[in-house]
């Protein structure tokens, strides 16, 4: 452990703003890349089910 205490760790030697904003941003980008395809998947499945229902109604 290169920090003496937890508050030291949060302070990042005065660079807290930079370090933590970067990692927050990183988390957002990574999560976004996982959540976006999940939402997309729901949307595609709903779309295709609607199409199948439409085709069934027609025939």
């Amino acid at each position: 452990m290169s920090f003496d205490s937890f508050s030291d760790f949060l302070a990042m030697g005065g660079h807290a703003l930079y370090v933590w904003s970067c990692f927050a941003l990183g988390l957002i980008v990574l999560l976004g890349n996982v959540v976006a395809p999940m939402i997309e998947r729901k949307k595609i499945i709903a779309e295709q089910l609607r199409r199948i229902r439409r085709e069934e109604a027609q025939s």
Binding site: G13, V19, F23, L25, V29, E40, I52
Partner: protein, 253 residues
């Protein structure tokens, strides 16, 4: 038709969207676990246990995000161009889908690399943006990604869009080393002795091991999100196939 037989069998299996969908479904959980483990370990190690840099202090810890993101942005471009080339040469639908799925992931990581680089620049150089060679190259890489995404969305026919973007990606691939070289050269010409944030001589193992873990973690992460996007793409394009219909009916319950 000539020259087809020397490719291994899995290469042709990959060409089957159905096989691809099934195999990615099996691989996905493993990669999710690996990604979570590697990224958590790497981040905790890098943030809390790696020694601080004698010049930059703790702001140096941004390296653990910046370098993997920048590295991935480049590798994803290679992956995309390679998949595009395979799609062009062997007319493989799955390769087209991989190439299409790569672009948004790569672009988002390029943005991350640029943003972290800019934030890192503030404590290091005193300003958010410096025309540093690496950052400039990354910005141009982002432009290439944006061009590819724009072209892909402008063309209506899916197969034409895939082929056109593959050609563009390959042209970009040839250009990337030239751009990189020219930007480096331009940089030394105009700013002879700038301090390069990520270039340092011997890093102690305590510093570079977490970095290595994170780079591998990011690779796994790329695999996870690529597979998720690829599976979506397969469902959308193969919507008329019988097996997709069955799959959809199962979803309906």
């Amino acid at each position: 038709m000539a020259g087809k037989n020397w490719m291994p069998r899995w290469f042709y299996q990959l060409a089957s969207p159905r096989w691809c969908y099934q195999i990615t479904g099996k691989l996905l959980p493993g990669f999710v676990v690996a990604t979570l483990l590697l990224i958590t370990i790497g981040t905790v190690w890098g943030l809390a246990f790696a020694p601080q840099d004698y010049q930059q202090g703790n702001s140096f810890r941004i390296i653990y995000l910046h370098v993997p993101a920048a590295y991935m942005a480049q590798s994803i471009y290679m992956t995309m161009a390679l998949a595009g080339a395979i799609g062009l040469i062997w007319k493989m639908k799955v390769a087209d889908m991989v190439a299409k799925s790569c672009a948004p992931i790569g672009a988002s990581l390029a943005v991350l690399a640029l943003a972290t680089g800019a934030i890192w620049g503030k404590p290091t150089w005193g300003s958010y943006w410096v025309w540093d060679a690496r950052l400039t190259s990354m910005l141009i890489l982002l432009f290439l990604y944006l061009g590819i995404i724009a072209l892909n969305s402008a063309i209506e026919s899916e197969s034409t869009a895939a082929q056109s973007t593959a050609v563009l990606a390959l042209v970009g691939l040839v250009n990337i080393p030239i751009i990189k070289y020219s930007v480096d050269w331009w940089n030394t010409l105009h700013q002879p002795a700038t301090f390069k944030i990520t270039e340092r001589p011997a890093m102690p193992p305590d510093m570079w091991i977490p970095l290595l873990i994170l780079v591998i973690g990011f690779y796994c992460f790329f695999a996870v999100t690529l597979m998720m996007r690829l599976r979506n793409e397969i469902i959308r394009r193969e919507r008329r196939a019988g097996w997709v219909r069955e799959l959809l009916m199962q979803q309906r319950g």
